[in-house]
Symmetry: D2
Subunit: 340 residues, 4 copies
Amino acid sequence: MVVVMSADAEEADVQAVVTVVEGAGGEAFVSRGVNRTIIGLVGDVEQFGTLNLNALRGVSDVIRISAPYKLVSRENHPDRSVVRVGGVPIGPGTMTLIAGPCAVETPEQTLQAARMAQAAGATLLRGGAFKPRTSPYAFQGLGEKGLRILADVRAETGMPIVTEVVDANDVELVASYADMLQVGTRNMQNFALLQAVGGIGRPVMLKRGMNATIEEWLMAAEYIAQRGNLDIVLCERGIRTFEKATRNTLDISAVSVAQRLSHLPVIVDPSHSGGRRDLVLPLTRAAIAVGADGVIIDVHPSPESALCDGPQALVDDDMRELAATVRALPPIVGRTLTTV
Amino acid sequence: MVVVMSADAEEADVQAVVTVVEGAGGEAFVSRGVNRTIIGLVGDVEQFGTLNLNALRGVSDVIRISAPYKLVSRENHPDRSVVRVGGVPIGPGTMTLIAGPCAVETPEQTLQAARMAQAAGATLLRGGAFKPRTSPYAFQGLGEKGLRILADVRAETGMPIVTEVVDANDVELVASYADMLQVGTRNMQNFALLQAVGGIGRPVMLKRGMNATIEEWLMAAEYIAQRGNLDIVLCERGIRTFEKATRNTLDISAVSVAQRLSHLPVIVDPSHSGGRRDLVLPLTRAAIAVGADGVIIDVHPSPESALCDGPQALVDDDMRELAATVRALPPIVGRTLTTV
Amino acid sequence: MVVVMSADAEEADVQAVVTVVEGAGGEAFVSRGVNRTIIGLVGDVEQFGTLNLNALRGVSDVIRISAPYKLVSRENHPDRSVVRVGGVPIGPGTMTLIAGPCAVETPEQTLQAARMAQAAGATLLRGGAFKPRTSPYAFQGLGEKGLRILADVRAETGMPIVTEVVDANDVELVASYADMLQVGTRNMQNFALLQAVGGIGRPVMLKRGMNATIEEWLMAAEYIAQRGNLDIVLCERGIRTFEKATRNTLDISAVSVAQRLSHLPVIVDPSHSGGRRDLVLPLTRAAIAVGADGVIIDVHPSPESALCDGPQALVDDDMRELAATVRALPPIVGRTLTTV
Amino acid sequence: MVVVMSADAEEADVQAVVTVVEGAGGEAFVSRGVNRTIIGLVGDVEQFGTLNLNALRGVSDVIRISAPYKLVSRENHPDRSVVRVGGVPIGPGTMTLIAGPCAVETPEQTLQAARMAQAAGATLLRGGAFKPRTSPYAFQGLGEKGLRILADVRAETGMPIVTEVVDANDVELVASYADMLQVGTRNMQNFALLQAVGGIGRPVMLKRGMNATIEEWLMAAEYIAQRGNLDIVLCERGIRTFEKATRNTLDISAVSVAQRLSHLPVIVDPSHSGGRRDLVLPLTRAAIAVGADGVIIDVHPSPESALCDGPQALVDDDMRELAATVRALPPIVGRTLTTV
């Protein structure tokens, strides 16, 4: 941690900082510059954070240098992790395709979408039973009925299930059906929910908040990890920017950055970031090429009647191209498509 | 609602849209342009929203024209509303000062902050007992113990209490102490929480999500209203932009825009938007001048030892200037400071 | 300047940094932390900037601490400056109203707008003869003919003129007519233009780039100052964010921040930031209340026929309210309306 | 174009719009909805743009539907274009590697960088002689001396040259040396410069403004095209967002979107968007996989002593990996690396 004094700070102000830091058991190294004095702190950063140093007189800025997350950091765990979902690995060396309908609507639609997904190379089935919707007047999902449909389709196809949980109270219920729990973009800082999924014995897919920095995303993962659950998969799904040609702006660099900072697997959602069917395949290729550990894609047997996000679901022709892509591209980046 | 066809759409594509709309009981008016055809839809917009029109062939864009919120809209309720919190009004004609410590730490600190607030002209006391924190290692608040402190200070000072609730499970507990429940910026789209506060008989202060558009903010209010609670106060607290000189960018225009679109009162939080003590007074003046129905401000008897957001809490000199400002400025914009 | 070493940097890497810094005549103070080593540099920051320190092995980050601008900085010039435009002051203690048509169209329209502006309290006339337009098919301004119209209206009304220059080649021409040159938001980093206006003996109004940080804005002012022209007025006009309810988001905090960092006057353009007539008066009030040294406003005798930005020009009723506001509000913040 | 009336618009307001539109030779189709009336306009959109419709009473919004650019639009030119730079093609079917030093420093450094680039598969040499720099105290480039160095290296290596021009006055000079002129991100809306490069017989690479929407980028290209120069290559180089882990956020989706809207080739600059060496190769792979027509990369023989952007230049090991990537990846997306 570095304390930067303001240009008009006096010697007494500098001494006050040193005294506070040393009083907390830390060490303070003072460097006097032409315009400013800076003080390097050595010791327990978390404790320094409670000292409220930037409220002291003459302090202009306090700059944190160590990462504020620990359990998910690669500094303390250099090897990248593999998370297993119902036996299917997500992590280095492989490229895992997760696909399925945005929302579970009927048993037929879900089974048909699962078959499409499987034919394209998917080994995990996604499908939403609880939907967080911006409007209270929009379709909110089938709830537990949807979970039962997913379980039936798993029995039929053998595909483990990934599904969203939106309320801390529902975590046990959803975990009793799902193989991996999804925390959605709007809930990335719903700390009650993060703690609840941290306490349950199931892998978690944590979507990046559409307004969250990579650091905040990793801090949200740290909340889950802190409760004892390290089976976390990070999912980049686009951030909010000034550009309106796409629903969100896929932050493709974030995949590499997050993999460098954290040992957790990082996957990409090309369907929700672009919000347009014609972008799903190009963005899928970009995601695999940049080194994502997986992609998660919306498919629907009849997108024109989908109750949720129909415009971005892939249709038949696309599925054939997807199948070809997920086989041809991973080897170029030293990976193989995950198979069962 | 307007459907814009793509440049290469065929006549059959246009007819397909018309058929779908008419099949849903709506009317479709077709305008054929030189490059494009557009179709104006008349009827029930919510229902059109379920038709998934932009998945139809040849459809380039679907543009919604009516506001997607109803209960909080000024279209159906032209007069601006007054929300009463323990008898204190927030709304047109008045300017209400809410102040207190960011976090409740001790009975003494809370009482002292309340006295400072009251001396400056505050009629409502803010104070956090449950704190949503980005880091799992940061101080998370005193919980119910903090609520009891707030209740004691209310008894002592007569100031009604505004305090945050972060978990749907805590709504009843917090409502048993608080006069107004606060939903924080990170929870603006925590729909379970919105529904829970919608079902409890207490006014709600809804902070704008730091990444939320004004429309999404009003949709979040609609979630609360839909459960029968229309005592909602909107609070602008800054949005996330590329500028890093301030913690967030106070969107001062949003006050006017929200007041024009919705009948709900709109207040401003100048402490959290700037994140810097030296900006609190200028931004407070801007907020009152733009026409806010109130401001909510952090005060702390000894900011240098605050457990939360100390750097932005006002100190004594500032409090005197604040007191002068909240008396002198509102009359210029046709308001008076709310008193008890 | 502070050099932060990466967690896996070796002692030799630290020594290499020290050697390079000392070789350049600087001093390096090494602080060894539990996870990281940091090195505080003392000496000539500009020179350190050329050392390319973050390309050295083991260097994780290089953090600049001093402001990169000098001539416009308040560190070296603590008193806030007054800039005089044809005798009219802009700076501390006063609030200067600049108004006029977005684009000069005809002598009659310009004179009429100037009379409206003057009646409301304006002492400077704005008007565009050269217009930078996003589309090559939009009206680009009358050019020199427009400048002659402005000069005639100045002769008639006594109001000094503020007008935009968009090309370094036109600076002499425009300066031969104008009392203050405006550099527009799209040209804030047109360095050839900045240098040209820096070399001409006329005050310059520098609009903030809609995507520029406050630091970049001050660096652009430094370009002008470096050529010997310190008569610079900064103008906040809104930044680009995700919010689309307004054309841009007025960054009201930037007024205070820029005044704290720089001695230059700071004014606000409430017309272009909001892009909506109904926001001009509220944002004008906010600007004056926050402490702006002036405001610049679009007025047009018949906005419905304006060739440029008609929707945001004030009309008669608004003008009366504006006149009342610019007289009543400044005294509350210790200023008086500038008069001739 | 669609005119949306406000909820309280009267019949006379609607008629006024119709009258204005018909008076301008257009047709107006009125659709009366439950809450709002909308009017579809058919005719010459550019002319409607001058009518200032949203200043009319009762008009709530005017929505443009056709693209505002024509010459660069794919609507009027469905086949994607190939631009030839000194004989080297950029366009569909190929993937062109452009590489070289950010800034030309010495003949040796430039030649060495060119050799590195060529060995990796580059067929065009980039190098800056005129540098737009945020700080007036930073290295501004060698100017014409740098252009002569580039010409010498072209003679030696046979690689055509791409170099930036920052001032309309320099266009002839730079064009007398360069095979392709680069317009940089800060100059994307420097209209004088756009017009100057539009009038010279040389291909132009137009970088996207870091704050520009895709539509504004295409409008800037339209400025160039309108002067008769259609040899334009668009270059995505990252946009400014709230995320600070990378210098800018590479908008990988923009490649696909721009290729769909415009017939012009689109390339990617992975060096400047990320601003970090460790991101260059992953982002290069993402760019090729998404379907970019080329990539432009910084290389420097000794990055630690580079006068400009050293931290992002590739070094030897990276160059070998780059060479492998640009050969292996394009065939997967139906392209071949451009060779001479």
